[in-house]
């Protein structure tokens, strides 16, 4: 499936995808308020762990040397740390952002920490 030499048509298509994604990213990200910049960073970090997709293939395919399998295995581990960790911690952060704190009783609960 994977080609070792770039078919010019595929290269051009990839460059289109890249350019459009860059434009889209710029449009969306510049609308994220500074309030959410930390969650944004950890969310995009989780997204870039999409390299897990490449790592899975490398770890599972037939490789000419077993070193490649090992490298793929380590890559799967480190990418999946980011996939799970990134999404969980982003959610944990976002859960904390509240516009108003509901009255006083709910507030007392927060005190216990």
């Amino acid at each position: 499936m994977e080609q070792l030499v770039f078919d010019p048509r595929i290269l051009m298509a990839s460059l289109y995808v890249f350019a459009l994604a860059a434009f889209l990213g710029y449009q969306i990200i510049s609308r994220v308020p500074p309030l959410l910049h930390t969650p944004l960073m950890s969310a995009t970090n989780a997204l870039s762990a999409i390299s897990v997709v490449g790592a899975i293939v490398v770890a599972g395919r037939h490789n000419e040397s077993s070193i490649s399998t090992w490298l793929g295995f380590i890559a799967v581990i480190s990418a999946s740390i980011n996939v799970i960790g990134g999404f969980l911690i982003t959610d944990r952060m976002l859960k904390m952002f509240k516009r108003e704190i509901p009255a006083k009783p709910g507030d007392k609960k927060g005190n216990s920490k």
């Binding site: 969306i28 969650p39 960073m41 969310a43 762990a49």
Partner: protein, 456 residues
């Protein structure tokens, strides 16, 4: 090409975009992240059906180990450690991209076409540099590596030579893909270059460095996408790359410095020479004094900085703010974009302590309010409230936008001791007649203040 797998990737890409779109507002953010996570699941499940895969046990074991480490880290990591965690996760993400690239080359690098090996080179360079760079950033934030800029004689020349050799290997590799030596030398130098790139950068500049590493990690993933001919990698990686890039530009603007200056300026070293010493006396104020001021004020603005994070004072601030609000005092928080060690650091800490985000104001929103503010309380912030940035064109931070607490009727600075800030600059704010210094650990000062206000 398996059409079902491609559809999984397409769905993932669309979900990622919707996920990020959700982050443009706090109310839709969690739902957005759920969509993004669903997209990630779709991409992973789709990949498992890739016909190239012959054995799956290593994949499962890897996913299991990585997933558990990630889960453990995210559940028990305290919010104050967020910058360290983020630096570490940039390292993991970049490592994954770099390793995939190395494995690709080891497998069939010699037969690769020119453009393919070029994309692979980018992946390796970005991945390796980001990996070691992020580890150093982590070390600096965690305190195992010295936070001040580490410099040595001829550093820039040394780095430039290294960079030149590295790029030379890259060019040679593109010319002759079978030159394994060039590949491995390039890889090793990239690992070294990552260290050298971050070592001379001071802790106070971390927000820029973090954003930049974020960007590189994303671009490494995008380059992986080019190598593997996989669009979802290109899309997700590019979104991440641009997010990091925009953040680093915003952070640089908030410090009125160019990217070049942050990366190669070795800030701390310069500042020693440029400023004349500020003279005068600092006025120390007593706890009771401050408590009375706060209790009878109409408007109070809290300005947190990295000191609030180190003292874990966010809960104590919230207590005090609640008490004051209960007495009818208007309370606001003024957040500078580069306060803390990563973009948005202060917002997360205050949110953790249950401060509603309607009380959090950005720098441009809070500055017009400050002249009508009775008391501005600076909690462990220094450079972001340094009036020299506005008044003294010779200051190294001249032109950096600041939160103008010195325009308030009265300023209270909570500070551990009378030392200098992280940038090593004198802060004339501390010597102004409106300013009172309250020394001590921010958390205990705030707790005592809360008690004192109750007794007023």
């Amino acid at each position: 090409m398996n059409i079902y797998i491609e559809f999984c990737y397409l769905a993932a890409s669309i979900l990622f975009v919707f996920g990020l779109k959700g982050l443009t507002h706090p109310d839709s953010a969690r739902r957005g992240m759920l969509l993004a996570a669903a997209g990630m699941t779709a991409a992973i499940v789709g990949t498992l059906f890739n016909p190239e895969i012959v054995t799956r046990e290593w994949i499962w074991i890897g996913l299991l180990i990585g997933g558990s480490i990630g889960a453990v880290m995210s559940i028990w990591m305290p919010m104050t450690a967020m910058p360290e965690r983020t630096a570490l996760s940039h390292a993991f993400g970049a490592l994954a991209a770099a390793l995939v690239g190395i494995a690709e080359y080891a497998n069939h690098g010699a037969q690769m076409g020119t453009l393919k090996v070029g994309a692979l080179g980018f992946e390796i360079l970005l991945g390796c540099i980001t990996f070691t760079g992020s580890l150093i950033a982590f070390g600096k934030l965690y305190g195992v590596v010295k936070g001040t800029p580490i410099t040595f004689k001829g550093q820039n020349i040394f780095n430039m030579t290294l960079l030149a050799v590295m790029l030379g290997c890259f060019v040679y590799l593109v010319y002759d893909a079978s030159a394994a030596a060039a590949f491995y030398i390039m890889m090793t130098l990239a690992f070294c270059f990552g260290v050298l790139l971050v070592v001379p950068i001071g802790s106070a500049d971390m927000p820029v460095v973090m954003s930049l590493l974020n960007s590189y990690a994303g671009l490494a993933a995008a380059a992986t996408g080019f190598v593997l001919g996989n669009n979802v990698l290109i899309i997700a990686g590019t979104l991440d790359g641009f997010s990091g890039f925009i953040l680093s530009v915003l952070m640089c603007r908030a410090m009125n410095r160019s990217m070049k200056n942050v990366l190669f300026g070795a800030f701390g070293a310069v500042s020693e020479t440029a400023v004349g010493a500020v003279t005068g006396t600092m006025r120390e104020v007593s706890l009771e004094d401050v408590a009375t001021q706060l209790a009878y004020a109409k408007h109070v603005v809290f300005v947190p900085g990295y000191g609030m994070a180190t003292a874990q004072a966010q809960y104590a601030v919230r207590e005090l703010a609640n008490l004051l609000e209960g007495r009818g005092v208007g309370v606001k928080f003024g957040i500078h974009p580069v306060a803390g060690r990563m973009p948005g650091h202060m917002n997360v800490l205050l949110a953790e302590a249950n401060v509603p985000y309607s009380l959090l104001y950005e720098m441009d929103q809070i500055n017009p309010d400050l002249p009508q503010t009775d008391v501005a309380v600076v909690i462990g912030a220094n450079d972001v409230v340094n009036p020299d940035a506005r008044d003294n064109p010779r200051s190294p931070i001249a032109g950096m936008p600041i939160i103008e607490v010195d325009r308030a009727r009265s300023v209270v600075v909570l500070k551990r001791g009378n030392g200098k800030g992280f940038s090593g600059l004198d802060n004339p704010l501390f010597f102004k007649p409106v300013t009172g210094m309250l020394y001590g650990d921010a958390k205990s000062s705030l707790t005592s203040l809360t008690q004192a206000v109750q007794e007023v």
